[in-house]
């Protein structure tokens, strides 16, 4: 038999109060502890590199030894560097392709995939989504074979259809840009389609019924019901496409190496080339800062234009 001797009256209450007091500090630091991993990683892998890049952009550094302080010299050189200007121009073209071609095409495909009664819908969805999960190396290899001037599939098709097929897809500066744009279309459209499809499936059915009762045709329904309902999704897709295309690297790097004659050189490739082929780390950092400022500023502008983050009126 066990006998428990109770303490003096009021001891339990006092103990409970002490417990609460002892627990209070734990509650006070617990939230900080929980959020600290994010901030620690954010500082380590975001703020510190950004700060170091900024500092490095004001120096000349070959990758070893002490960086030499040059103030704004790298920025001045960038302002007169034809190669950098070309990279900016090419990147602008890629951004336009992403925003003005890939995004609308993705919307149209999503609309088609969302049609009632579409057979083997899942097969279509998978087919459109597959390019984004294919390794970029494989994509470059396949498109390299397709666009080969003498023995490529594209020219073979042209030859068999029109009797002419000596098109230098990757060797001609303008065609090389078009080839990269085609690869971007093939690779990214299906991925963006998924976002639009998710948005379309959330448009209330009653809105379509109301539009039908009002006698709206397909085009009218699309412009007055679908598009407004998709505005938040569209805004998200446009901004992410813009940011992604502004930092495009894999497609031109693997397919054309930025050539011919820098006609497909993107700004990120310019940065990579300066840092890891030419050992001009300060110069590369300055180009990276310029790219960051441009992308950040323009995406803020796009955010504002599309009203992202603002409550619906």
């Amino acid at each position: 038999m066990t006998t428990t001797v109770a303490g003096p009256p009021g001891a339990a209450r006092a103990h409970s109060a002490r417990g609460r007091e002892e627990h209070r500090p734990r509650r006070a630091w617990a939230p900080y502890l929980f959020v600290s991993p994010f901030y620690l990683l954010y500082v380590l892998f975001m703020l510190v590199p950004v700060g170091v890049s900024l500092w490095l952009s004001l120096t000349e550094w070959v990758g070893l030894g002490t960086p030499h302080w040059v103030r704004l010299r790298n920025y001045r050189l960038l302002a007169t560097d034809i190669s950098f200007h070309r990279a900016l121009g090419n990147t602008a073209v890629f951004v336009l392709v992403a925003v003005c071609l890939v995004v609308p095409l993705a919307l149209l495909i999503a609309q088609a995939l969302n049609t009632r009664g579409l057979r083997v819908r899942d097969l279509w969805r998978t087919a459109y989504f597959v390019p984004i999960v294919v390794s970029p190396i494989l994509v470059a290899l396949i498109f390299g074979l397709i666009f080969d001037r003498q023995f490529g599939l594209a020219n073979a098709v042209l030859r068999s259809l029109f009797g002419t097929g000596g098109v230098d897809w990757l060797g001609d500066p303008n065609l090389a840009r078009i080839s990269i744009a085609l690869v971007m279309l093939w690779r990214w459209t299906g991925y963006l389609t998924v976002f639009f499809l998710a948005g379309l499936q959330n448009v209330p059915r009653e809105l379509y019924e109301a539009a039908a009762l009002d006698g709206a045709g397909r085009l009218r329904t699309f412009t007055t019901v679908t598009l407004p309902a998709l505005k938040p999704v569209t805004a998200f897709v446009v901004v992410t496409s813009f940011v992604g295309a502004a930092q495009i690297f894999e497609e031109p790097y693997l397919l054309t190496g930025g050539g011919p004659a820098e006609s497909t050189l993107s700004v990120t490739m310019f940065i990579y080339r300066a840092a890891f082929q030419r050992q001009q780390f300060g110069y590369a950092a300055a180009a990276a800062v310029v790219l960051f400022v441009l992308v950040f500023g323009l995406s803020r502008l796009v955010n504002r234009l599309l009203g992202i983050g603002r409550a619906a009126s």
């Binding site: 070893l64 397919l255 190496g257 082929q277 110069y283």
Partner: protein, 452 residues
């Protein structure tokens, strides 16, 4: 029975204690990470050399050389090999050097990646200078081919030893040359081009190749570079000054552009890819100038069924001067300085890479030609016959080419030159620019970008 009240729960750490703990842990980790490797030099005994290379052939060569090095030195060697892409090796080496630890002892620099080591004082800070050691070994300085030390030198100091003397020769289809009635001993490129134009017209075959792969400016440049070096031109002098704007360069570029118009020269997108393979298999390309290693990496791999049909000869001369060969490619092995294993790595390299027997073994195992003049006279190499080339005794040819192998220098701005020259060569091939304009524009673009 009395049961005491439960003990109070341990008090949680205060914010200050938590901060102190985190700082302490962080400092310990940082100090541990910053601590460099020991640099006390090892002078004998067991040593594990860290070797970085992009080519498994070198890995096998050095592994087999361990017993030989053990016998000849006071060390007992073990190798720890890391393989990476050729450009990545330089990037990783510099990253480890900045970190102050984890650098290799022995590094293989593919020749096109070495110019990065020439930027600023990277080579001097990081690599062991072999110049005094070369002078200390009797006869070595005169025996080493200057053509193969120059690309890995800076200010007269040698920082790596090349793996090869990659002479440029003319590969051709013996059977098709016979079939088309083409003489195999044509003396000059000019005569060769005339015969090539006829062959293209009559048989649709070409006898020379230029690469137009837009994604690889270095490969585009190679086609031009080989003939430029043969003609007596060069890209850079020993001080790194650009010498491209020369009559030799213009002559060679004009020769290639004219060849493209006549069909004597054909464009291929890639020397090693599907386009070239198709051209070789269909007999559209029946000959090309290339470095000797192309036999293993381009011909044997792409058209193994054509074994016995290929032959090798010296390049035809240019009527206006130059030699009968050039050099293209190579991989230099260097030793990282001021490390515990620096001496061991240096001795290992000297006892495997540079010995007479080591150079013979290197050829038999990897196919790379010796870099010491005297080794070319070795009877074992003289007796070597090449089955792919119809049993030709190639060393007789190689020995005859040796005096003509031109030395060339590399510049830290080489990748800039390749980028701008590659684009302008393509424009010249297409006829958008004349050879003169292409070279002038290259020089102007190079000056605009170099030194930033």
């Amino acid at each position: 029975m009395y049961t005491p009240p439960p003990p109070p729960p341990p008090s949680p750490p205060t914010r200050r204690a938590l901060l102190r703990g985190t700082l302490g842990l962080g400092t310990t980790a940082a100090l541990a990470a910053c601590g460099g490797d020991s640099t006390t030099p090892r002078t004998s005994g067991d040593v594990t050399l860290s070797l970085w290379t992009h080519d498994p052939g070198y890995e096998a060569f050095f592994a087999k050389g361990v017993p030989e090095a053990d016998r000849a030195t006071d060390f007992r060697y073990h190798l720890k090999v890391t393989r990476a892409g050729a450009p990545d090796i330089v990037t990783k080496l510099l990253a480890q050097a900045v970190a102050g630890r984890g650098t290799p002892d022995l590094v293989g620099f593919e020749i096109a990646s070495f110019p990065r080591m020439l930027r600023g004082d990277i080579a001097e800070r990081l690599l062991y200078d072999f110049t005094p050691d070369i002078e200390a070994v009797p006869g070595l300085k005169d025996d080493l081919l200057p053509a193969r030390t120059a690309p890995f030198s800076k200010d007269g100091r040698v920082y790596a030893f090349d793996s090869d003397t990659p002479m440029v020769v003319y590969f051709y289809r013996h059977d098709l040359f016979e079939k088309y009635g083409l003489p195999e001993d044509v003396a000059t490129w000019e005569e060769f081009a005339e015969a090539g134009a006829r062959t293209h017209r009559d048989h649709g075959a070409s006898m020379c190749v230029v690469s137009t792969v837009g994604s690889d400016p270095a490969q585009v440049v190679q086609s031009f570079q080989m003939l430029l070096y043969q003609r007596g031109g060069t890209f850079f002098d020993a001080a790194g000054n650009l010498l491209l704007d020369s009559p030799e360069a213009e002559e060679v570029l004009r020769f290639l552009c004219d060849g493209l118009r006549s069909g004597f020269v054909v464009e291929v997108s890639d020397y090693y890819g599907a386009g070239m393979q198709t051209a070789l298999k269909r007999g559209r390309v029946i000959g090309l100038p290339m470095a000797i290693w192309y036999k293993n990496y381009g011909l044997v791999t792409n058209v193994p069924e054509q074994k016995g049909k290929w032959r090798v000869r010296a390049l035809p001369r240019f009527g206006n001067g130059g030699g009968v060969t050039a050099a293209l490619g190579g991989t230099g092995f260097g030793v990282v300085k001021d490390q515990a294993n620096t001496r061991a790595a240096r001795e290992f390299l000297f006892r495997t890479w540079l010995t007479h027997d080591g150079q013979v073994r290197r050829f038999t195992e990897t196919g790379y030609l010796p870099t010491r003049r005297s080794v070319f006279d070795d009877p074992r190499l003289g007796a070597y016959t090449d089955d792919f080339c119809g049993g030709q005794r190639l060393f007789r040819l190689y020995r005859s080419l040796l005096p003509d192998v031109p030395p060339f220098h590399q510049s830290p701005d080489q990748s800039i030159l390749y980028d701008v020259l590659g684009g302008n060569l393509l424009r010249a091939y297409k006829g958008d620019l004349s050879p003169r304009q292409a070279l002038r524009r290259t020089v102007a673009d190079f000056r605009d970008q170099a030194g930033r």
